[in-house]
């Protein structure tokens, strides 16, 4: 009973914090687009056929002649009720345009995360168990180099070698919708998932390594060994059970860079997800979609953090006290 109450209060306070953050984020995103030199009208001002009168008409139509705070409030109000504006490019509602791309990005991130978590866990744990050993040195060097490779260039190399030269993977794009089934889709997923997965592996293995090292030095590990617990059991039951707790919090913190990595990978592999959408709308100066994407990605990050936080509360017995 009391437990449920505490959890509820925790959820409420986190929710309130997230809402404050959301307010800040929306203001930053909004002003960013309105205060930069080009501004939301740049798409129209740049086209040669437009007269001054045309531009003023559009300005009035879009409400861009009103004071900025007023514009923000109207935009934010619409945001809450789900009206995110319409894409300049194909006049579709921004939210449905984004929603249409979301699935592909999640698919890619899920596949990459599966690779990254498995490999990262193994590399991090085995590196930490033999700290400064040959494997550890090799893994440390490898992760540092991977984190130093430009992701887009790495993607280009993968395309060149595995697609152009060896023909193992298709050059890009998710499988055409409704076509040849999941096997083809998976085949298309291989390249981008491999690239994004490897980059994320480097991130996770570093975190995992230091988390495991931290836990190995703890007194309770010594206690477990003094009890005569088998070495593998010490690692699984005592070290990993504690080491994965900070990983949950880190998942929340790393979410923005994970999303960023997905964007880069999508542009290289022309994967039709949110990243590709963002890139295209920037090329087209599709202002409502850009703003929508900025806001959407920030909301995703805030939600992810909220989720990570609540998960942490559930996983750590010290936080769910009776």
């Amino acid at each position: 009973m009391a437990l449920a109450q505490l959890m509820l209060r925790r959820i409420w306070s986190r929710l309130a914090q997230s809402l404050v953050l959301l307010g800040i984020v929306s203001m930053v995103g909004f002003s960013l687009l309105h205060l930069t030199p080009g501004g939301p009208l740049s798409q129209f001002t740049d086209s040669p056929g437009m007269t001054q009168a045309d531009i003023e008409r559009i300005e009035r139509q879009l409400g861009l002649d009103q004071p900025l705070p007023l514009q923000y409030l109207r935009w934010a109000g619409n945001l809450v009720v789900g009206d995110w504006g319409r894409s300049y490019r194909d006049d579709a509602p921004v939210l449905s345009v984004i929603a249409g791309r979301m699935g592909q990005t999640f698919k890619l991130m899920l596949a990459a995360s599966l690779i990254a978590m498995t490999l990262g866990l193994l590399l991090g744990v085995f590196g930490a168990l033999r700290q400064h050993g040959r494997f550890d040195r090799g893994a440390t060097l490898a992760t540092m180099v991977i984190l130093s490779i430009p992701t887009f260039w790495f993607g280009l190399l993968v395309i060149y070698v595995f697609s152009q030269r060896l023909g193992w993977i298709p050059a890009g794009n998710a499988a055409p919708v409704g076509d040849s089934g999941w096997l083809v889709a998976l085949h298309h997923l291989l390249g981008p998932a491999f690239v994004l997965g490897l980059v994320n592996t480097a991130v996770w293995s570093r975190y995992m390594r230091s988390a495991v090292l931290e836990c190995l030095g703890q007194d309770y590990v010594r206690t477990a060994r003094a009890k005569g617990v088998a070495p593998w059991r010490v690692v699984v039951r005592h070290v990993l059970r504690n080491a994965w707790l900070p990983m949950i919090a880190l998942l929340g913190l790393e979410l923005p860079s994970l999303l960023g990595g997905a964007l880069v990978t999508e542009t290289v592999f022309t994967w039709p997800g949110m990243g590709r959408l963002f890139y295209d709308s920037i090329a087209n100066r599709d202002y409502p979609v850009i703003l929508g994407m900025l806001t959407f990605s920030a909301i995703l990050v805030i939600l992810g953090n909220l989720l990570a936080d609540l998960l942490y509360g559930l996983a750590d017995p010290r936080l769910r006290r009776r």
Partner: protein, 343 residues
């Protein structure tokens, strides 16, 4: 208290040394420690931090690697129940740890795993040595009751942070005695506790020792605690034993200046006999990367003779003392004190 030496000792340590190689030079934590422990005997080892008192037991249990000391160099000989421990492989040591030798560590908060229930942690000591899961869970409840925790059925499902400091230490003790070991090593088990709880834990340990008939090594920096539980006391400093003997002899016929310093810094009645006012030992413990060439305590010792600075004094029977009362000192503390009193 039996004084017959006819049975083979339970634990026999010869010339145990532990060095940690570091970039700044080897840290000589333990430098040739030798002693024996009979079955059922309780030995109190006293010293400041850095005296080697904790490190030498971790070394004999093969537990130094856990503290990042993968490179610790251990030499000498440790025989437990007639078997050599130094150089034994990990599986052999593991079979011994927790089953024949139990350990109770100092800080029960950090020494218990925060994400496992207390019941799980006690049961694990048993399942690791072949007991089935169900039986281990049942035995864990008995152990909790044995160490004086009420409602064991309910408390076994709690996590360490839900216990008070004293109760946590009782859980640690339950883990240490789970397999009814022949030897229990208690590394400063009462240091983190306040005085009343300390007394309760001491009572519990005395009681358990009687019930289980095990030998005990009680490591502490507090001479007062030793007086309350041990038969034999051994004073360590700079990785060496400076004095050792029956508690009565060491307390009332003190032969080493460091032991005297420890007794003088003791508050209350136990210390009163040794001083006119509460004193602490002046100076700093030695830098163990460059230990002094002679008696490690010489730089802080007002009775030190020139020889103390050059040559390590051997640990030898006090000529006119109680049997088994050993001291390592070039000076004669009794004579020196008498001379001081006369002056």
């Amino acid at each position: 208290m039996t004084t017959k030496d006819t049975t083979a000792p339970l634990l026999e340590i010869r010339d145990l040394a532990v060095h940690f190689p570091t970039p700044g030079g080897a840290v000589r934590a333990v430098n040739g420690v030798s002693y024996t422990l009979r079955a059922g005997e309780t030995l109190g080892i006293v010293g400041e931090s850095g005296s080697g008192k904790s490190v030498h037991v971790l070394a004999l249990l093969g537990l130094l690697a856990a503290r990042g000391g993968a490179g610790a160099i251990v030499s000498g000989s440790v025989r437990f129940e007639g078997q050599e421990l130094i150089g034994r492989d990990e599986p052999a040591l593991r079979a011994l740890r927790g089953r024949r030798i139990g350990v109770v560590f100092q800080d029960p908060m950090s020494s218990l795993n925060p994400v496992l229930t207390v019941g799980e942690q006690i049961a694990e000591a048993l399942t690791s040595h072949g007991l089935g899961r169900a039986a281990a869970t049942r035995r864990a409840l008995e152990l909790l009751e044995l160490v004086g925790i009420r409602e064991p059925q309910r408390r076994a499902r709690d996590y360490p942070h839900q216990f008070s400091g004293g109760m946590r230490q009782r859980v640690m003790i339950a883990i240490g005695i789970a397999c009814e070991p022949k030897l229990l090593i208690a590394d400063e088990p009462t240091t983190a506790l306040d005085v009343t709880v300390q007394a309760q834990v001491l009572d519990l340990m005395r009681d358990l020792r009687k019930k289980l008939g095990m030998a005990m090594i009680w490591i502490t920096h507090d001479m007062g605690v030793v007086a309350g539980i041990a038969e034999t006391v051994q004073v360590m400093y700079g990785g060496r034993i400076l004095e050792r003997g029956p508690v009565r002899a060491v307390f009332h016929d003190t032969r080493n200046a460091y032991t005297l310093g420890l007794l003088q810094s003791l508050p209350g009645a136990a210390g009163a006999a040794h001083r006119s006012r509460l004193t602490s030992i002046p100076g700093q413990p030695p830098d163990m990367t460059r230990p002094p060439p002679g008696d490690p305590f010489a730089p802080r010792n007002r009775f030190a003779t020139p020889r103390c600075f050059e040559e390590v004094p051997p640990l030898a029977q006090v000529p006119d003392g109680a049997p088994g009362h050993l001291v390592a000192a070039w000076y004669d503390l009794r004579a020196a004190l008498a001379a001081e009193a006369a002056a």
